[in-house]
């Protein structure tokens, strides 16, 4: 290590002296200075839109929105499962609002006096209403997300005075307040954006795609789509304590090997998408700090389309559940970096929680027996599909599943679906067998089940599972949650979890981890429901 450092410095000096002009020396010291105040993040892909309300904004775009815009409220931090700061689902803190008053059928927010947008104009209740109106009417993902918290109509958002805004509830829903703390209800500089709005584009989406019109802790200094984003700290930020990092450079490095090399060499400060194996090795190596946190309300699962024979037969589904090589997947695919969702003790009571482990285990004899009972003693042929965008995990996982299923006579062909096409394929609901991940921003079991198991057959109910008993339990739990009826809630949650496991339309495999690799001098990482980085808390020593 010392030799390397030496080499590095001699190379640098050699280059400087070779330059032969005084300028490089000055440049170099400036460079060292800026290096210390700058955080370099490397990831596989970058944002395609800086505005979460935009059309087709990708997930990296959420990170830009989170750090550049403020919302009325945010979550407090608590200690997470691994001692890392973890957002507290139930505790809120003001961000743009200085206080929040939740009534029976409405909530009132008072804005901070000195809150200003990046262009210096003060943040007003008018801006907040305009922004929330935008979120519920613009369509697509933002509108859908608002609806999840029963925020559906512009009439719900009332400007009380310049600094006060009231949100009216259309129904009692315990998800309404949490939904105001997700990324979508961000506050946009309405005057600035309206200047760039047109008749075809009344919400100015074209403008906010390229430009930040927020009041958040960071501004975008430079954005080269697909290459890098440079964030500069907003020195006038009022949403919280002044962030420590002055500048963040987010560089797109498509090759995972290169990302690891950059981290190991100390050239990059943070990366959160590396193969699991790399995280394990880097952790054991000890040169970097690695933080692993389970996805909140998320699982990777094997799904079966219950409308497609033979998966319409519950015994076939159970046979698959008994044939899956759970431990092999944990070892060879996840390298132990995930929480098993299988093999709960036979006598363990069902918990009022989600996700939780099911009671299936790899038991080929039992699987064969179930298959024979279902009328497929010699197995059958089918296709197993996965999202190529996450091939690093999905591909070996499917290969192992394929091999294991082969042993009970189920022959599968692996179908790689390009990332962009995955959602279309899911929407078609024609894939018989597939693996996928679902995780909800709002961490409530009934939220998960409403989207994934309910008979309304949303896109996330990838199995086309429809069962009136299930629908009744989910509805019961949602109603009980809104009214705070804990016994009914507990009973219904246990009910739908049990039913989901018994009917086995989807077989949970594991709860994935969010892994972040950081240089030792970087600290302050916080886990958020959106699983992206919050630059505001990060510190570089």
């Amino acid at each position: 290590m010392k030799r390397r450092d030496f080499l590095k410095s001699t190379v640098a000096t050699a280059a400087v002296s070779a330059g032969g002009v005084p300028a490089p020396a000055i440049w170099s010291s400036a460079k060292a200075q800026s290096r210390a105040e700058t955080l370099l993040i490397v990831s596989e892909s970058g944002p395609n839109n800086l505005d979460i309300h935009g059309v087709g904004t990708n997930v990296p775009g959420y990170e830009a929105s989170w750090n550049c815009y403020d919302r009325l409220i945010s979550h407090e931090m608590k200690e997470g499962p691994n001692g890392v700061p973890y957002y507290d689902r139930d505790k809120f803190k003001p961000e743009l609002a200085e206080d929040m008053n939740v009534g029976d059928m409405s909530a009132t927010f008072k804005l901070k006096k000195n809150a200003v947008f990046h262009d210096g104009t003060p943040v007003t209740a008018k801006d907040v209403k305009w922004s929330l109106d935008r979120a519920v009417t613009v369509g697509g993902f933002p509108t859908f997300q608002m609806k999840a918290g029963s925020l559906e109509k512009p009439e719900q958002f009332v400007v009380v005075d310049d600094r006060t805004i009231r949100v009216d509830f259309i129904r009692k829903d315990r998800l309404t307040i949490p939904d105001l703390a997700v990324i979508v209800p961000c506050v946009v500089n309405s005057e600035l954006v309206k200047k760039h709005a047109t008749a075809e584009d009344p919400w100015g989406l074209e403008y906010t795609k390229q430009n930040v019109a927020g009041s958040g802790a960071y501004k975008i200094a430079k954005w080269t789509p697909g290459v890098d984003v440079t964030f500069e700290r907003n020195e006038a930020w009022t949403g919280g304590p002044m962030p420590k990092v002055r500048r963040v450079i987010w560089r797109v490095v498509p090759s995972a090997g290169n990302r690891r090399a950059l981290l190991e060499r100390g050239d990059a400060d943070i990366s959160y998408d590396l193969p699991n194996k790399d995280f394990v090795e880097l952790k054991n190596d000890g040169k970097l700090s690695i933080v692993s946190t389970p996805y909140s309300n998320g699982i990777q699962y094997i799904g079966m389309n219950v409308t497609k024979p033979p998966f319409d037969n519950v015994k076939v589904r159970q046979a698959v559940a008994y044939a899956l090589p759970y431990q092999k997947i944990m070892d060879a695919v996840m390298f132990g970096l995930s929480k098993p969702m299988f093999g709960a003790a036979a006598d363990a009571p069902t918990e009022v929680a989600w996700p939780q482990a099911h009671k299936y285990n790899t038991d080929l004899a039992k699987a064969r027996q179930l298959l024979a009972e279902a009328g497929y003693p010699n197995g059958f042929e089918t296709t197993i599909s996965f999202d190529l965008g996450f091939a690093g995990i999905n591909e070996p996982l499917c290969v192992l599943a394929q091999e294991s299923l082969q042993q009970i006579g189920v022959k599968t062909t692996i179908n790689k679906v390009p990332g962009a096409n995955w959602r279309t394929e899911l929407n078609k609901k024609e894939m018989p067998l597939f693996t996928n991940v679902f995780s909800g921003w709002l961490d409530y079991p009934e939220y998960f089940f409403f989207w994934c198991y309910d008979g309304q057959n949303s896109v996330f109910n990838t199995m086309s599972y429809q069962n009136p008993a299930m629908d009744k339990l989910i509805a019961g739990a949602r109603a009980a949650a809104a009214t705070g009826d804990k016994p009914t809630y507990d009973k219904d949650v246990r009910g739908f979890v049990d039913l989901a496991f018994a009917d086995a339309p989807r077989v949970p495999l594991f709860q994935p981890y969010v892994n972040v690799a950081m240089q030792k001098n970087v600290s302050g990482y916080q886990y958020w429901f959106h699983r992206r980085l919050d630059y505001r808390a990060l510190v570089k020593a």
Binding site: S255, A256, G257, N258, R260, A261, E264, P275, K277, D278, E281, Q327, K328, D331, A332, V333, L388, A391, G392, E395, P396, C398, V399, L400, Q402, E403, T413, I414, N415, K416, P418
Partner: protein, 304 residues
């Protein structure tokens, strides 16, 4: 007749002339003897064919059987080439992959050989250039050439789906202009040859001349081109695999093995990418050199 025949005796004495095939064979032996690299490449080619045919019999393990306990083991006495992420034996996978890779190479090249060759000949036949068939063939080749070929391949595979058949078809399409160009250029050189004019004088139609006179004379050059494009076919399939558009797992294919292994290089598991990479390189290398050797063999200038 009074004119004597004795004055112009045969050049090679009274020795009975050998058949064309036997002669080519002895010429080939000479070329191989003269150039050790060519000899080596022919031997390597035979070895590859052997692996393609008997690969599954030679491989010590089931190439698809995972063994998570033995995952990511470096080369050892048990696993000469080590094991991959799922504990599969890399040696076995490399051996078995020979068949698939050779299949892709040979099929795609055979396809373009016929399609490109026939299209070219059709063009030649249609009135010795200038016919509309020729113009169409020319335009199609120009259009394909104006595409960045690898991106065209990606586009077609992405659009049609990543099956082996589609990879084969795609590879054939991007090599199409190479063949039509060769046929056209070579036919152009020969179309004013005395024997072509002679064939016209003896009542052969243009089509017949193209098929029976020009094509057989171009064939050897096309065969040389075939062995060169076989190398590109494999590289192309490997490139497609690297960006995730290659053959489907768990099938063993060199390109996809390198692509999978590439993620492990930085962490020190070099063997996962290295061995299939070497096999890939060796195969392409061999095809290229065999092409060179064939060129020497069919080149009339090198015959004495």
């Amino acid at each position: 007749m009074s004119a004597p025949a004795a004055a112009d005796g045969a050049p090679s004495g009274q020795q009975r002339p050998k058949g064309r095939f036997a002669e080519t064979l002895s010429h080939a032996r000479h070329i191989i003897g003269e150039n050790p690299v060519t000899g080596l490449s022919f031997a390597l080619f035979a070895l590859l064919l052997l692996c393609a045919v008997f690969g599954p019999l030679l491989s010590p393990y089931d190439p698809l059987a995972s063994d998570t306990v033995a995952a990511l083991k470096p080369p050892s006495a048990h696993h000469w080439f080590g094991t991959d992420q799922l504990g599969r034996d890399i040696l076995s996978r490399v051996l078995v992959a020979t068949r698939l890779d050779m299949l892709i190479a040979i099929l795609s090249v055979a396809l373009v050989f016929f399609a490109g060759g026939l299209a070219g000949v059709a063009g030649v036949a249609a009135g010795f250039f200038g016919g509309w068939t020729d113009r169409i063939v020319g335009r199609v080749s120009d259009t394909i050439m104006a595409f960045p070929l690898f991106v065209l391949a990606m586009g077609i595979v992405a659009a049609l789906g990543n099956t082996v058949t589609n990879i084969v078809i795609t590879t054939a399409i991007i090599n199409f202009p190479l063949y039509t160009r060769i046929v056209r250029a070579e036919a152009n050189v020969r179309r004013n040859a005395g024997y072509v004019l002679a064939a016209r004088l003896t009542g052969n139609s243009d089509t017949r001349i193209a098929l029976t006179t020009i094509l057989p004379n171009i064939l050897p050059i096309m065969v040389v081109q075939m062995s060169l494009t076989m190398g590109y076919a494999i590289l192309n399939a490997a490139g497609l695999s690297f960006i995730g558009l290659g053959v489907r797992p768990p099938a063993a294919e060199w390109g996809i093995m390198v692509a999978e292994g590439s993620a492990f290089i930085v962490s020190g598991e070099w063997w996962i990418a290295l061995f299939p990479g070497l096999a890939l390189m060796l195969a392409v290398f061999c095809f290229n050199l065999v092409g060179d050797g064939l060129r020497d063999i069919v080149d009339p200038l090198r015959r004495t």
